[in-house]
Amino acid sequence: MSTQLSMQDKKDLEKFTKYLALRAAQIIVQSRSGQKVNTMCKPDSSAGDWFNLAIKELPEVSADAKRALCGEIVSSSVPLCIEISLKTVEGDKMVLETWSLGVLPEQSDPTVRVTYTVYNRMGILLKSLLSVSRTAPAYKLSRRQGPDSYTMCYRIYMGDPQLHNLGDNYKHMRVGQLCTPVGTIHLSVSYRTKMTISPTHKGRDSIMLKSDHFHSDLSPRHARYQQSEETSKSLSDTIKVGAFVINKPVIVNEEDLVIPDVPFSSLLTPKQTSPPPGLLMNPTNTKTATAGATTDSNNGNNERLNNDNTTSKCASQNGSRRSSCSMTSANDDFIMVDLKTPFAVTNTNSDVGAFYRDCQSAPQLQAFMEERTLAEQLGDLTKQLETFETNMQHYEDMLSSLCQTENNN
């Protein structure tokens, strides 16, 4: 195989491969500089423009690559590696990707033309490298680098790629390959997928940043809706306990609910714990105090039942000067408060409140007031039919008169 290759071709191939490695190193390192690259097309290429591609040359990168190559890549059994890592301001380091360019001597094509075909295909491989280098995850990271966050570093070495630095589940991506008379040149990259950094420097406090500001689940609007849903569960839950109040459930005796004849008599007996007068006006509070078990109940029937109890008790003390509350069960959210001032003259006859109560709900139909037997009801029906029949003439007259008026119009 090598005997078929002329000395000139062999020399050319070595030279091309060396420049391919040098240009690949430039492309990779420059792609991680964080800068957008823009080179001009030149109708006349100069001596340095290898592979007809306008690749900028950073002298530092060239020197590093040349030092690492240290001879011929073609004759080397190990590939050239370019390692890209991220370094934070804290000094933490993480290897992001390792590019490797090597020659596999097992697969070769002695018929391929070195000067023309191999050279052009190397140009295509470098173009592919340019395209692929922008798609790897490290590219996006490199564009966001800065002196106060993190910077990108590179390392060029000859040897098998050190993939253990890339963490678990690293990925492999092939850029391309080309056959030469001495073997197949292949270019590929292995890159990290787990981007968590384990800090090596402890005791450094950094601000915890939360990036959920625009997360819809955590927006104040959403939170507000949630809150209102909770409120609707139980009204009693919303009752706030004062900051310095001893959190002790208030035990109320049934007698306490009945307002004594002497107003504010409870004030005269300070030792007795009695509910505040306003308690009666709060149906929910009463409920929690008396029924206890129905606290979480939102059932309208329960509430009504409770309210009825309260009013009936108040009614039994009729005539006394009292503050009573009456809840209209038909409309739960309306509470009619009938206030009786303790020192005013009692006037039960002109009770506006009572009048209002009477008018608020529709009166019961008379039909349902008196129970009637089936025979009575049936007798009614025959009587009705008889009247309809006797009035038949009258109905017909009315119908014909209606028809006539229609015609007149």
Partner: protein, 218 residues
């Protein structure tokens, strides 16, 4: 000879169309463009250098590389925006396709036009989607970026298979293979074409409407 065909199917928002198509076609053309040939004497020529630039997309999470040729970019933009406008117009069916076709010319006898023989065709078939929220747009922006990354990797894979490309001819026949109209680069001869079509699942009503419309237009 049968032309190699590649088909990419994508769905995206209307505003992403131009950038998505450009990223695919520019990547292909970057690989299918050579430096400008300059002939010194018969059989001897020099090849110019191809410059390149990074392009950041506005509506897709993607950066791609293309030839830094203003004229080539203009040609592509013109055709792609024609497609984009047709696809996004109000009477558009919401899907369509655009093709980049490489061809070579074959001389024919006068008075016939030279025959065009395609050797590689890249087709991008698009379906438009509508998004309601900014959150969905952000997801779509990343998703389309990932999909295009896959396509770019596939393009480089195809390019490195070293399949058939027309041979570099003599100076006299150069423009049968290459587009020599660009002052800075020399791409293989190519043309672009697009169509907008109804989605594949056409209903009977639509088919009838189309038939009637077509009959009337004759």
């Amino acid at each position: 000879m049968n032309a190699r065909t590649q088909l990419f199917e994508l769905s995206m928002e209307g505003r992403q169309v131009d950038e998505a198509v450009a990223s695919i076609f520019h990547t292909v053309l970057f690989h299918r463009s050579l430096g400008k040939f300059k002939y010194k004497q018969e059989g001897s020529y020099s090849v110019g250098t191809v410059g390149y630039q990074d392009v950041d997309c506005d509506f897709i999470d993607l950066t791609y590389v293309c030839c830094s040729s203003v004229y080539l970019d203009q040609t592509l933009k013109r055709e792609i925006s024609g497609f984009s406008e047709a696809l996004r117009s109000t009477d558009s069916p919401g899907s369509g396709q655009i093709s980049l076709e490489f061809f070579q010319r074959k001389k024919s006898r006068w008075p016939f036009q030279p025959e065009c023989i395609p050797w590689e065709v890249w087709t991008v078939r698009l379906e438009l989607i509508k998004l309601a929220t900014e959150h969905e747009r952000q997801i779509c922006r990343e998703k389309v970026g990932d999909l295009l990354t896959e396509k770019i990797l596939y393009i480089t894979e195809v390019m490195n298979r070293h399949d058939y490309v027309p041979k570099v001819p003599s100076q006299a026949e150069l423009d049968l293979i290459f587009d020599t109209s660009y002052p800075d680069i020399q791409p293989y001869l190519f043309k672009m074409s697009f169509t907008t079509s109804s989605p594949s699942t056409t209903t009977m009503g639509n088919t009838m409407k189309k038939l009637i419309r077509e009959t009337l237009s004759i």
